[in-house]
């Protein structure tokens, strides 16, 4: 395949890797983009991924936009994003219709209950891994605790909470001694 990829080719590559991604697309993104197609080097992948995580929004979608943009600009970014989403979206919506149809059957409902507990456990594990990367500093603990309490206990609107907490955290951190921020592992979602 000649470089740089056209938007059409980007759409196909990202559809492919997205459809391989049962339970998370990231490992397949690495396998296809770096190992099989050799579109980007491992170092570039890591760099783009750090960038994708730094920006707000779905990390894997940001990653698609960044890789697509490198190949053919804004149109490339949008094509890669569309590839990442279009086919899986149709697929998962079809599964949803099946679920509406058969979700009440006892066997399906029982299976889903078990799977849901596992799905929640996966997120808990990701949260634990993330929390372990945080330096044990009272400022970090206070900020994280306020967010948890605000959302889980008081059911505050997220927008309000974040708009208040970001300036507050900036003020707190300005007085903190400089320590390296460790690289956070990737979570689901």
């Amino acid at each position: 395949m000649t470089r740089p990829l056209t938007p059409r080719q980007l759409f196909l590559v990202f559809s492919h890797l997205s459809l391989l991604g049962f339970g998370g697309v990231l490992p397949w993104a690495y396998r296809i983009l770096v190992e099989r197609r050799q579109l980007i080097t491992p170092d570039t992948f890591r760099e783009l991924f750090a960038y994708a995580q730094l920006f707000p929004g779905p990390t894997i979608c940001n990653m698609a936009v960044l890789v697509g943009h490198r190949e053919s600009g804004t149109r490339g970014g949008l094509a890669a994003l569309a590839g990442m989403l279009a086919v899986p979206c149709v697929l998962v919506c079809s599964l949803w219709y099946l679920l509406q149809r058969f979700g009440q059957t006892p066997l399906v409902a029982d299976a889903l209950r078990g799977m849901s507990a596992v799905a929640a456990g996966l997120v808990v594990a990701t949260a634990c891994k993330l929390a372990r990367t945080l330096p044990r500093d009272w400022r970090n603990l206070v900020c994280a605790a306020l967010v948890v309490l605000g959302l889980a206990l008081f059911r505050l609107p997220l927008l309000l909470l974040i708009v208040v907490m970001i300036p507050a955290a900036l003020l707190l951190m300005r007085s903190a001694p400089a320590t390296g921020v460790q690289q956070a592992p990737h979570g689901p979602g």
């Binding site: 049962f22 899986p88 979206c89 029982d110 799977m115 997220l158």
Partner: protein
């Protein structure tokens, strides 16, 4: 529920998802779960907590990005218009922001400022993920067997390098066996 309702709900979803999309910092879209649950289950009763967690599980187990649970949430609340509204709302603003940054220069102030911002955001995004864990766990678990499965999954993920798909398959098996 008729089509008018679906249109109105889709508009609310579009507005709300766009507004919170830029708050998905550090942990990805899953970190928005507490807010989405608050909107569609707690405030508006568009679906039960059970439906919410089932949609999340479906998106997690199916191929494609896990963020498609937002699409399913929209589909459940307001059919196809709802699915489109929720998806566009969650993806649109961050992607537009990213493309704008790529186009018009990607440096936001000094490196020191960027580091400070990262240090300030890190504990907040971890708070979001912990609140998300709580929210999903509460929706997913309604007996001690379920709680045991959840804790077992967490320990497995922290201690081993097992592919999560095996755990999901195991969860389905345990459910079908009537243990959960």
């Amino acid at each position: 529920m008729d089509q008018d309702d679906h249109g109105a709900i889709a508009l609310i979803l579009l507005a709300h998802c766009s507004a919170i999309s830029m708050m998905a910092i550090g942990g990805g879209v899953v970190a928005l779960t507490p807010e989405l649950e608050r909107l569609v289950v707690y405030n508006h009763h568009w679906m039960s907590a059970r439906s919410f967690i089932e949609n999340y599980t479906l998106a997690q187990a199916a191929p494609g990005p896990n963020m498609l649970f937002v699409t399913l949430m929209g589909l459940q609340a307001a059919g196809v218009p709802g699915a489109l509204a929720a998806t566009v709302g969650i993806i649109g603003p961050p992607v537009a922001f990213l493309l704008a940054m790529l186009r018009f220069g990607s440096r936001l102030g000094s490196p020191a400022m960027a580091l400070l911002l990262r240090r300030a955001v890190a504990p907040l995004s971890i708070g979001l993920m912990l609140a998300t864990s709580w929210s999903l766990s509460r929706m997913a678990v309604d007996n001690w067997q379920g709680a045991l499965l959840l804790v077992g999954t967490t320990v497995c993920m922290l201690r081993t390098r097992l592919n999560p798909l095996w755990l999901i398959a195991g969860g389905a098996g345990a459910g079908m066996a009537g243990w959960i």
